[in-house]
């Protein structure tokens, strides 16, 4: 009941099969990452699981078929961070975050809490459109957090669906946000994230689902999935794991900056 279970899920867009026969299970209490090259169906999978696009097959979240569950019920335990978020009218950061209260009781104090958690303390009165891309993305994340603030509600886990949550963030904020997602999972919630950064995936994901051409090439615990042969096949180029460059090119890893949990 506290799982996300996909059984032979396919998604068609415009007559083309974008996601083909995808099966995997994501458990609450873990971070599950979806990786794969551009156009491999990561975001489309996310769209299917967010109720934006209909899918064939079965996809159950906490035991409920996603296609058949009313939006308002799903919103009680699933929040989605979109890849790109734009806002039409000039709104303050606080006003954007408070949109997260749509399907739940309004608790104004959570606005400040959520902003602090994404590193935007004191930004409440700023106008969203004046923020940088990274600040806007973190504002959206604060909105998503407010929607399902408690990782476990009424004995059921809540789920964060994150579509490239750190794509427009600097390395410091990438770690901060991934720490946050990780903490949410440790507190009993479920996290499903589309990831491009393989180092961050290795650091934070418990499970990895690797897609290529809409099909699942590998799914399983991070250590078993992020291997040279699998990654080379997924991305279509030779990739090595845990191997330093042969020349003196510098390489930078985020591991030292991680604050907790590891």
């Amino acid at each position: 009941m506290s799982e996300l279970v996909l059984e032979q899920v396919s998604v068609r867009l415009g007559g083309r099969v974008i996601v083909d026969d995808l099966s995997f299970t994501a458990r609450a209490g873990e971070v599950t990452a979806i990786i794969g090259p551009n156009g491999s169906g990561k975001s489309t999978t996310m769209k299917g699981l967010s109720g934006e696009t209909r899918y064939q097959g079965r996809a159950r979240l906490n035991g409920r078929e996603i296609n058949e569950t009313p939006a308002v019920e799903m919103a009680g335990y699933r929040a989605v961070l979109p890849q790109h978020g734009t806002i039409t009218f000039p709104m303050t950061v606080s006003e954007v975050v408070s949109l997260g209260f749509h399907a739940r009781r309004r608790e104004p104090a959570l606005i400040g809490e959520a902003l602090a958690r994404v590193g935007l303390d004191g930004f409440g009165g700023r106008f969203f459109e004046t923020l940088s891309g990274g600040e806007q993305q973190r504002t959206q994340l604060a909105r998503v957090l407010v929607q399902i603030w408690e990782p476990v509600r009424g004995g059921k886990p809540c789920w964060l669906f994150l579509d490239e949550p750190v794509s427009s963030l600097d390395i410091h904020h990438q770690i901060q946000i991934m720490d946050l997602a990780h903490a949410y999972a440790r507190a009993g919630g479920g996290v499903l994230a589309v990831m491009h950064d393989l180092n961050l995936t290795a650091m934070y994901a418990n499970q990895v689902v690797a897609l290529r051409g809409g099909r699942c090439l590998a799914a399983g615990p991070t250590r078993e999935t992020l291997t040279g042969p699998i990654l080379s096949a997924v991305y279509g180029c030779p990739l090595a794991v845990n191997e330093a460059p042969r020349d003196d090119t510098p390489f930078i890893l985020p591991h030292l900056a991680r604050s907790s949990g590891a």
Partner: protein
């Protein structure tokens, strides 16, 4: 980092002002606007081409007495009770309905420049009304038989509904609305409705022609208690129902997909919004013709002061729209007294430059 602990210490005792929350200001603004509306209504009833009204007349109307011994006072009473009062109430209803339908449409299309007048909804409603005016004596006579006095309003509503749905269908693909397509489609629809209107003028008889041109100028001068009874209930219903849309329109600020994630039944709310806009526009166009720009100017001014939260924006629009149109109508009937200016000219004179100003000052505005 723990995520659970902080959910506990959210005590209502410690409630402090939240930075960037404009709701308290919006509530104050609503109270001020309501007070302002009351004053403007009183003023508009009192002033006119016969000068300031006799306070005694106003008092007698409110008490329901009609003195028969004083013909001057009786004239004042008739002017106030049967001409000015319905006119002010009509102006209030029309102004409120235009501003609210503008705000709803802007929220639906996620664009501050969407307005029933600009995107052709008013033209569609106008065509519906004109069809009924011209052909009501002939082909459409059975409809008149069915709806009686309401036939023109019903036709205007259907015209507005058809053009709103067509517009939305054309402008929306794959769940997202393309504003450029929508605005251009609106222009095309408006031109088409204009051409059809021209054809109607061509075939219209003298009586229908007079009705058409009178109606097309855009005016609340013809307001009677009877017309208020026709259009009033529709407009009042729309105004009362519009707050139901507020939370969905707020969520739609993030886009249709994200609104769905927040728990909004997007399709149902969109349909409700479209019907609301069509009903409000249809009802007001039917009784007052084309009065432009109220639907853009009023929501925009309010967003600047109280923010875009539709829970306050929609009632605020109703109040400020009413105030603005009563004020414009009052100016229209005293500025060239004893003649009077069609109010549509006034709102366009003030509104069009304002619209251009929005275009010029809106940062990062793009049609796409």
């Amino acid at each position: 980092m723990t995520l659970t602990s902080s959910a506990v210490d959210v005590s209502p005792v410690r409630r402090r002002r939240i930075e960037g929350d404009r709701a308290p200001r919006a509530r104050v603004a609503l109270v001020l606007l309501a007070a302002c509306l009351a004053l403007v209504m009183l003023g508009a009833v009192s002033i006119g081409s016969t000068g300031w009204a006799n306070g005694e007349a106003l008092r007698l109307i409110l008490s329901g007495e009609r003195p028969t011994d004083n013909p001057l006072l009786l004239r004042d009473i008739i002017v106030l009770a049967d001409i000015r009062m319905p006119r002010v109430i009509m102006a209030a209803l029309i102004g409120a309905s235009l501003a609210v339908s503008g705000a709803v449409m802007q929220g639906l299309f996620r664009n501050p420049l969407a307005d029933p007048g600009i995107v052709g909804v008013s033209a569609g409603a106008g065509l519906g009304a004109a069809l009924m005016i011209v052909l009501g004596g002939g082909v459409l006579a059975p409809v008149i038989g069915l709806f009686g006095n309401h036939a023109v309003s019903v036709a205007a509503f259907l015209g507005g509904l058809a053009s709103t749905m067509l517009l939305y269908r054309i402008g929306t693909r794959g769940g997202s609305t393309n504003i450029a397509t929508m605005l251009l489609a609106g222009i095309a629809l408006g031109a088409l409705a204009g051409a059809a209107l021209g054809l109607l003028v061509f075939v219209a008889d003298d009586r229908a022609l007079r009705d058409l041109s009178f109606w097309g100028l855009g005016s609340v001068a013809g307001a009677t208690w009877d017309k208020i009874l026709t259009a009033g209930p529709v407009i009042a219903l729309v105004l009362l129902l519009s707050p139901l849309l507020a939370r969905a329109l707020n969520a739609l600020v993030l886009g249709e997909a994200a609104a769905g994630h927040l728990g909004v039944n997007v399709q149902r709310q969109k349909r409700l919004a479209i019907v609301t806009v069509a009903a409000a526009t249809g009802a007001s166009v039917a009784v007052s013709g084309g009065i432009g720009f109220v639907g853009i100017v009023v929501p925009h001014l309010l967003r600047l002061t109280i923010g875009p939260d539709h829970r306050y924006l929609l009632p605020g629009c109703a109040l400020l729209g009413a105030i603005m149109l009563i004020a414009a109508d009052t100016v229209a009937r005293i500025i060239v007294a004893p003649a009077e200016l069609p109010i549509g000219i006034l709102t366009a004179l003030a509104g069009a430059p304002f619209f251009l100003w929005i275009l010029l000052t809106r940062r990062g505005f793009s049609l796409g």
